[in-house]
């Protein structure tokens, strides 16, 4: 890729819990190009949300040890930036939307106020101009009757509309990067499709990069150009989306793909991956996936595998599979 817009190098985030320190994110690296849609997929607890929050340094401070690694944006390391400069970037150059639109909007402030806040803060607009722009933004995110809606409070809006408002807030200052953390998980399936369409169109219109985090492979297939699969805090595979679905290189990805119900295949029981994700504080020798891996080999249990290159824009953390690929090619 040409110079990436955002580059994360060896990000490690640790939490203090009652049972001791746990590593939520273990040396994760990623890169997003300009205008690119990167998908991050994994189960709950895989560390994908924490990774995203760490980019903007939005983690809950007291229990997190300051993340180590680098988050490079515009030639600067965001992790080392003074807060004042960080705040200038938040909302204006890098924006984020979250999973639950019900609770992500402030119940006592109007929509106009909440959208306008970004505009007044980062673009110095006055109240009247900000309000007008807010109405425009509501139109852009396809909320009907925007001029009336803008003065309402969040509780009057449905879940889908609230998420559109969140998107409006996020794109208000035309950010270069939008991080969307499970934006459709809390919504009905039909609304999900609408929101994804909206995101895709906005991305094209505004030339924005998007990092989309989800546990839903279907969403990934529809939206992402490149995908990163995370498991237990580590990246286990990255690939362009077509190749990921067509020829995955990690047993965990196999499992995720197999669990998607397919219309044309008749199964009695949906396959599920046996076992569960490891206790975050546990230290597992060798490959973290080995306890659940159907093709586990002796070496997997003793040597922790590295992320191996497996072609252009491809990496996988499973030496046996990568080796097999080379033999085929």
């Amino acid at each position: 890729m040409a110079v990436p817009l955002l580059e994360v190098n060896d990000l490690t985030v640790r939490f203090r819990t009652d049972a001791g320190w746990m590593t939520a994110v273990d040396r994760v690296s990623l890169a997003v190009g300009e205008g690119e849609a990167l998908g991050i997929v994994g189960e709950s607890g895989s560390g994908k949300s924490v990774t995203a929050l760490s980019i903007l340094r939005l983690h809950a401070a007291p229990t997190t040890r300051m993340p180590t690694g680098k988050v490079l944006y515009g030639g600067r390391d965001l992790l080392g930036l003074p807060m004042r400069e960080m705040r200038a970037i938040r909302g204006s150059e890098i924006a984020m939307i979250f999973q639950d639109p019900m609770s992500s909007l402030n119940p006592v402030l109007t929509i106009a106020d909440q959208i306008g806040e970004s505009l007044r803060l980062h673009q110095g607009l006055d109240h009247a101009t900000a309000r007008r722009r807010a109405v425009e933004l509501l139109d852009l995110v396809r909320i009907p009757d925007a001029a009336r809606r803008v003065d309402e409070y969040p509780h009057r809006l449905s879940g889908g509309m609230r998420q559109r408002v969140m998107i409006a807030i996020a794109i208000a200052c035309r950010p270069k990067l939008l991080i969307a953390d499970e934006p459709t998980t809390a919504l009905d399936v039909t609304i999900q499709a609408q929101i994804l369409d909206l995101l895709r169109d906005l991305q094209a219109e505004l030339g924005m990069s998007v990092i989309l985090i989800t546990h839903d492979m279907g969403v990934i297939a529809e939206f992402a150009r490149r995908v990163m699969v995370m498991y237990a805090g580590r990246v286990v595979e990255t690939a362009p989306v077509g190749q990921l679905f067509h020829r995955p290189l990690h047993p965990y990805t196999d499992g995720l793909l197999a669990a998607i119900p397919k219309l044309d295949v008749d199964v009695r029981r949906l396959p599920a991956i046996p076992g569960s994700i490891p206790d975050p504080t546990a230290v597992i020798p060798g490959c973290r996936y080995s306890p659940r891996c159907p093709m586990v080999q002796a070496i997997c249990r003793t040597e922790a595998p590295d992320l191996l290159p497996a072609g252009p824009e491809r990496e996988a953390r499973c030496p046996p599979r990568v080796a097999a690929l080379e033999h085929v090619a």
Binding site: A258, P271, A272, I273, P274, P294
Partner: protein, 298 residues
């Protein structure tokens, strides 16, 4: 792909074992909670002081005019009052009185308040009536109600207990009712009714146990309020009559001599503060551990 299997977990079958494990967990959390343990220690010390008061061997009401107005010294740890009575002993016996009153008020208002709360939640028609009465009781500040009732019942210990209990019943009832209403909305209540459970059974088996958390927390705070209120009532002359060594009485009696003999008033005040402090810490700890948001039992 391999198929998932459900493994049988014997522990899950026994509801009682689950409840017992939960209680144990709660106990452990309490023991580790700093506020709770400090409060518990303070209350324990006070209870011991009250129970062991007779060990001093001194009669709290024995007057010795020759030794009146002695400042804290030698044998008189807290000094003597205007009648030469030993204030340390009087304060200890005062602990007996105040803790007894606090406990009685907390238990009485707790039991009656809980009954009213659960009944209101279960029987909608009773609810309007009971809650109106509770609102009426709360229309005046608690202490005012207690003053009125206390004066009406005469200056005795039990009048104070009844007066304060009545004043705090509505607040306790509200809390229990709120908890019971929430419990009622939970689905297992519907399941129980479909299975034929009577109202009585629902109230006792489900509503009440789930309300014990908030009830316990509220009762500890009522205990603290009661100690403070009883002192105020005694101070106003509406409490256990002299020569009863109620802390409020001692302060009232010592007020006239406050300038010269400051110690008369000082120690009972500390005692009241300490007792209330202990109960408040206890209540804080209980509330943190038994927080209703985190706990739903079946």
């Amino acid at each position: 792909m391999a198929e998932a299997t459900i493994r049988y977990q014997p522990g899950l079958a026994s509801g009682e074992a689950l409840a017992a494990r939960r209680r144990f967990r709660v106990l452990r959390k309490l023991l580790h909670h700093r506020s709770f343990m400090v409060g518990f220690a303070i209350v324990l010390v006070m209870v011991l002081a009250a129970v062991l008061a007779p060990l001093t061997g001194i009669d709290p009401n024995k007057m010795a005019i020759r030794f009146r107005f002695r400042p804290p010294q030698d044998a008189y740890w807290f000094g003597t009052d205007q009648f030469g009575r030993d204030l340390f002993t009087r304060t200890l016996y005062g602990a007996q009185l105040s803790l007894w009153i606090g406990l009685s008020v907390a238990v009485l208002s707790g039991v009656i308040g809980a009954a009213i709360g659960v009944l209101s939640a279960q029987f909608r028609r009773l609810d309007s009536l009971l809650m109106r009465i509770m609102d009426a009781l709360m229309a005046a500040p608690a202490i005012l109600l207690a003053i009125g009732l206390g004066a009406a019942l005469g200056p005795q210990t039990h009048s104070v207990i009844i007066a304060l209990a009545v004043a705090y019943i509505p607040r306790t009832a509200r809390i229990v009712r709120a908890s019971a209403l929430v419990t009622r909305e939970l689905e297992f209540i519907e399941a129980a009714r479909v299975a034929g459970a009577s109202s009585l059974r629902i109230m006792f088996r489900h509503l009440l146990p789930n309300a014990t958390g908030p009830l316990l927390v509220q009762s500890t705070f009522v205990f603290a309020y009661a100690i403070l209120a009883e002192a105020a009532l005694s101070f106003l002359g509406i409490g256990p009559p002299p020569p009863a060594p109620s802390w409020g009485n001692i302060i009232a009696e010592g007020r006239s001599f406050a300038v010269q003999s400051w110690w008369i008033m000082l120690f009972p005040g500390f005692a009241i503060s300490l007792a209330a402090l202990g109960m408040n810490l206890l209540g804080d700890g209980l509330r943190d551990v038994l927080d209703p948001r985190l706990k739903v039992e079946g």
